[in-house]
């Protein structure tokens, strides 16, 4: 018997949140990724809940503290072994891209104009979820960290070619965002036009742990016959919980900036985010369609724990040798000098993720073929990935998925996830990127630009009652 769990008020709330989230996309967002795409269609996994708030697991769960749900990912658009290491033309082994045998044009063509690499970590410290009444409630305390590095293509061009010219390396940047996430979620089925639609929402209270950003406003490198010169200027922003930088003002050495800080005891920075999701089925439940919008929110970094300033113009130059004194005419700053300004509180958007998934199942859901579109909205760029997956459910307590992500990876990179979820344990392990081509000696995939690893261990709780609104 189906129970009508449609909550009009909740639906309106969800729509309003979505609109607000779309509006906030105009503000510079920064977010944390680390979502296991291969797990999206694995109903028994706990990890898929992070990708769509509407997903209802088979059972409740209690994550093993600290080690119950860990995800580590490296995402880049240029870091592939084959692009930086090449077979040694003189024999066995490999040479770096800086070897003379590696054609400069060939190497540089493999890079993007702006190259980025991001390391993200998502660790669940505490997490549990359970069915109660007409809702599936979930709670979690996560530690989320993401550090990204942006390297302009000109940097590699200088290193490889060293040709005379003027190079703009202003896209150099580093950013690190770290915060605690208190998650409270609820998911429940509703009926829309007599169609059951599972909807869910999660509210995340965020506590900023630390934020750092260094970006080069200008980094000009000039190589010519008279002088090799690099002029750099930039700015930095930092925010560290419980730290007080209020006594730091004006020009100083960067090293002093790092050392001369005091403990304030104030956490200061907080944020709010939402996950919204919906899932439904068609074609006699063979086609599962879902949409999830995650990390729609912000963190307001408090100025009490903030420090920001300008990196004073740094100039390095080499102009050859003074033939009179026979000494190099070389200039470099004695120290990195910065000018610390008045800090301001900054509100930064998280990197929102939009997951659109569809899965067609056969043989009573023993096999399903899924298609997941994942788009992430970051401040500097927007990335999209399309993942095909073959999901195998030979029995109720085991799911295995083979996936392949298009766009960023060429053929030869697959994902694999395994989830064993009997009544007494829920174990998950997965990698979205498994190469088919490995290097010799050290088993590093040659063609992959991204990789991730997920691990989960949880204690299953009770299933929803058979007569509840969750039953199908």
């Amino acid at each position: 018997m189906e129970k009508d769990c449609n909550n009009t008020k909740s639906q309106k709330s969800v729509r309003r949140s979505l609109l607000l989230a779309l509006a906030w996309l105009l503000i510079v967002p920064l977010g944390v990724r680390a979502q296991m795409k291969s797990a999206y269609f694995m109903e028994g996994s706990v990890q898929r809940l992070d990708m769509n708030a509407a997903f209802l697991p088979d059972r409740g769960y209690v994550n093993i503290p600290v080690v119950g749900n860990i995800g580590i990912g490296v995402n880049s658009n240029f870091l592939a072994v084959k692009d930086f290491l090449y077979p040694d033309p003189d024999g066995s082994g490999v040479v770096t891209f800086m070897h003379g045998s590696v054609d400069a044009a060939d190497f540089l063509n493999r890079l993007r104009q702006t190259n980025y690499a991001t390391v993200s970590v998502r660790e669940n410290l505490i997490g549990f979820g359970a069915y109660a009444r007409r809702y599936f409630w979930s709670f979690g305390l996560n530690l989320r960290s993401e550090t990204s590095l942006t390297i302009p293509k000109e940097f590699f061009e200088i290193a490889k070619r060293l040709q005379p010219g003027v190079y703009d390396l202003g896209d150099f940047g580093m950013e690190s965002n770290n915060y605690l996430e208190f998650v409270f979620g609820a998911a429940f089925p509703v009926h829309i036009l007599e169609k059951r639609v599972d909807v869910g929402a999660r509210v995340k209270a965020l506590v900023g742990a630390g934020y750092a950003s260094v970006s080069m406003d200008g980094m000009n490198v000039q190589l010519n016959e008279d002088e090799w010169r690099a002029d750099m200027r930039g700015h930095f922003v930092g925010n560290v919980a419980t730290m007080d930088f209020s006594k730091l003002r004006g020009p100083m050495k960067f090293s002093d900036l790092l050392n001369d800080r005091s403990f304030s005891g104030q956490l200061g920075s907080w944020g709010l985010a939402f996950d919204l999701g919906a899932a439904t089925r068609f074609l006699d439940d063979r086609l599962k369609v879902s949409v999830g919008l995650n990390d729609l929110g912000f963190i307001a970094w408090n100025k009490k724990n903030a420090v920001q300033g300008e990196v004073n113009e740094l100039t390095f130059s080499f102009r050859g040798y003074d033939l009179d004194t026979q000494e190099a005419i070389y200039h470099s700053p004695d120290d990195v000098l910065v000018t610390v300004g008045d800090p301001t509180g900054v509100t930064r958007m998280l990197t929102a993720t939009l997951n659109l998934g569809a899965e067609y199942n056969l043989l009573d859901e023993a096999i399903g073929f899924g298609l997941l579109s994942q788009t992430q909205f970051s401040g500097d760029y927007t990335s999209s990935e399309l993942t095909l997956s073959a999901n195998f459910r030979p029995c109720k307590w085991f799911t295995g998925t083979l996936s392949h992500s298009l766009i960023q990876n060429r053929l030869g990179v697959l994902g694999l996830a395994l989830n064993a979820h009997p009544s007494w344990i829920n174990f998950f392990v997965g990698l979205d990127y498994i190469g088919l081509n490995y290097a010799k000696g050290v088993p590093v995939p040659i063609n992959m630009k991204s990789l991730n690893f997920y691990w989960g261990l949880a204690i299953p709780l009770a299933r929803p009652q058979a007569d509840s609104c969750f039953a199908r």
Binding site: V95, P164, D324, Y438, I446
Partner: protein
């Protein structure tokens, strides 16, 4: 035997497809042998398509700065024409020992007494008969003629240098007044007895030898005699006359066992009429013995005029013109500059009345001290002093045809050969002699004569038309490449580009040789230089264009470790003067910018680099 539960077994059956798929994936996974990460070659090449980096810049070096930094203080700016000249000046004194002549002792001989026969003379012959007692009374007056003669035949020592003695100014060597004293011949007469009351001498005539010179007004140069009208005899050793002697002349110079001597020969004659009166009795005639005395003090010789043959080489020692600071600045390297000829001014103050003629020999030495071809300045004449006043002779040695006012021109056509190669020093030898046929006047002071000389050598830094320069310098780089082999650096086709701008009046080319410790060229390191630094003709106002030099450095296999064999780098600059009269002025300059081009980049092993 383990029995699986039915649910597990069923699950495994159904998992077959999945497992098959996983295994298929696993089967198709492969290890790419080409990517053996056990062997990662960290050899890196920077700028494989060629890298250009600044090597250095020679800031604008003006000639003023170059010469100022060179420590060559003797390079002065010639304010007349605005160009530089190397100036060396010095003075020195050569001491010549004076010609000394020993005093002539006892020149005049002793006279023998003579008997004067007196007999009554005619009173009429006594026109000025004095108030003699008894006049009017017939008192016999006796008269007679006295005549004396003696011969001088004496010698006195002369210096060996004296060839002929025309005149010698004499003084009384016994007088405390020294050379200002005038010796006198004193003639006296003495009768051995005086049987008369009065006596006088009249018509006294004294003839001296022609070699004696007197400035007495009474002395007759033509007859070499002096006449005295009358002298009354007043007693023994009555002075008859004093004859001043100022000199002796035309003395034959002879050589005997003792050396050079002056031979004095001649006669001294005296005649006089003697009148006596007041003789007791009727004496009509008598004979008296008259002893003349002619004395002359020792004659010192203060000046001589004659011909001498001085051995000037004994006195005139060579002097040296040093180019110490210039040779130090050049650091001992050979430098051919082909400069225009120097101008040499020599001023000689000659205190002696001897003219000197001959030549001046200029012997240059190269920077290593080896003699170069000498230059001889012939036809040199140092004028003799006039009297006691020294005389100054100014010589101007040049290859030009004119000398400045007041200078005597000593033209040497090939004088520029003296500085074809920059010398470390020039030895100046005075090959002078006196002319034995020329008469000289010498003050015989007994002191030494200081021959003062000073010279000025002005060497313009101006090049002859079409002159070439050749300068070689060697840089010691023995310690520069000691550790280069640690980094296994490889760089082929190394090019050093030099862009230079010069307003020097020289077009310069460069060759470079890399030498091992034994001085032999290192075969594994060869440099080839193309291009030259163009010179700029003086007087052309346009700014000079930029010249390009390229030094192509070929190292065997591009292995920079070969540079360890290099102990020295020898750089040879060869150039040609641009324009006529190319000279160096303060504002001329040279500036250069050097660029290093590694046409195939530079390769190094990062592993080796980090391990060091």
């Amino acid at each position: 035997m383990i029995r699986l539960s039915s649910s597990v077994a069923a699950c495994c059956k159904r998992s077959a497809v999945f497992m098959l798929a996983v295994l298929s994936v696993g089967a198709t996974s492969c290890v790419n042998e080409a990517y053996d990460l056990n062997h990662i070659n960290l050899k890196m090449t920077l700028g494989a398509d060629g890298v250009t980096l600044p090597l250095g810049k020679l800031e604008t070096q003006t000639v003023r700065k170059l010469l100022g930094d060179s420590g060559v203080d003797t390079l002065k700016l010639d304010t007349d024409d605005g160009y530089y000249a190397y100036r060396v000046e010095d003075s020195f004194t050569e001491t010549i020992e004076s010609v000394t002549v020993e005093p002539v002792e006892r020149l005049l001989p002793d006279f023998d007494p003579a008997i004067v026969h007196l007999e009554v003379g005619d009173v009429a012959d006594l026109p000025d008969l004095p108030d003699l007692p008894g006049v009017g009374e017939v008192t016999p007056v006796l008269q007679g003629d006295a005549s004396f003669a003696a011969t001088i035949d004496d010698t006195f020592a002369l210096p060996d240098e004296v060839v002929a003695l025309t005149y010698a100014r004499v003084y009384d060597a016994s007088s405390p007044q020294g050379e200002t004293s005038v010796p006198e011949i004193v003639v006296r007469m003495t009768f051995d007895q005086m049987p008369f009351e009065t006596c006088r001498f009249e018509q006294i005539r004294i003839s001296l030898p022609p070699f004696l010179v007197s400035d007495s007004e009474s002395y007759d140069e033509a007859t070499h005699s002096i006449e005295v009208d009358r002298v009354d005899y007043v007693g023994p050793s009555t002075e008859i006359v004093r004859i001043p002697v100022v000199g002796i002349r035309d003395i034959p110079v002879e050589e005997d066992a003792t050396g050079k001597v002056g031979h004095l020969t001649g006669d001294v004659e005296m005649t006089a009429r003697v009148w006596v009166e007041g003789i007791d009795g009727e004496v009509r005639e008598m004979d008296l013995t008259l002893q003349p005395e002619v004395s002359l003090p020792p004659l010192g010789v203060s000046q001589v005029t004659g011909r001498v043959d001085l051995d000037l080489q004994r006195y005139l020692e060579p002097t040296t013109i040093d180019f110490d600071d210039l040779s130090e600045a050049l650091d001992g390297e050979k430098l051919e500059l082909n400069l225009v000829a120097p101008q040499i001014e020599i001023r000689v103050v000659n205190p002696i009345g001897i003219a000197m003629t001959g030549a001046i020999r200029l012997q240059p030495y190269d920077l290593a001290g080896a003699p170069l071809d000498p230059v001889v300045v012939s036809g040199v004449r140092i004028a003799a002093a006039e009297g006691v006043e020294p005389r100054t002779t100014k010589l101007y040695i040049t290859d030009q045809t004119e000398a400045p006012s007041g200078y005597e021109l000593c033209h040497v056509a090939d004088l520029s050969d003296l500085v074809r190669e920059v010398p470390s020093r020039i030895d100046v030898s005075f090959e002078l002699d006196t002319d034995p046929d020329e008469e000289h006047h010498i003050a015989v002071s007994g002191e030494r004569y200081d021959l003062d000389m000073d010279y000025l050598v002005r060497l313009p830094l101006a090049f002859r038309d079409g002159a070439t320069i050749d300068y070689t310098m060697t840089e010691d780089v023995s310690d520069s490449f000691d550790e280069i082999d640690k980094y296994e650096l490889v760089a082929e086709d190394i090019l050093i580009r030099i862009a230079a701008r010069s307003t020097l009046p020289l077009t310069l080319g460069l060759t470079a040789d890399f030498l091992a410790a034994d001085g032999t060229p290192v075969e594994d390191v060869v440099a080839e230089v193309t291009g030259e630094i163009k010179g700029h003709e003086a007087g052309i106002p346009d700014e000079p264009g930029e010249s390009q030099l390229a030094v192509s450095l070929q190292i065997a296999d591009g292995n920079l470790s070969h540079l360890q064999q290099v102990d020295r780098i020898r750089l040879r600059f060869q150039g040609t003067a641009v324009g006529a009269g190319a000279a160096l002025s303060p504002e001329q300059y040279l500036e250069a910018k050097m660029t290093l081009v590694l046409q195939q980049g530079i390769t190094f092993d990062l592993d080796e680099l980090l391990s060091e």
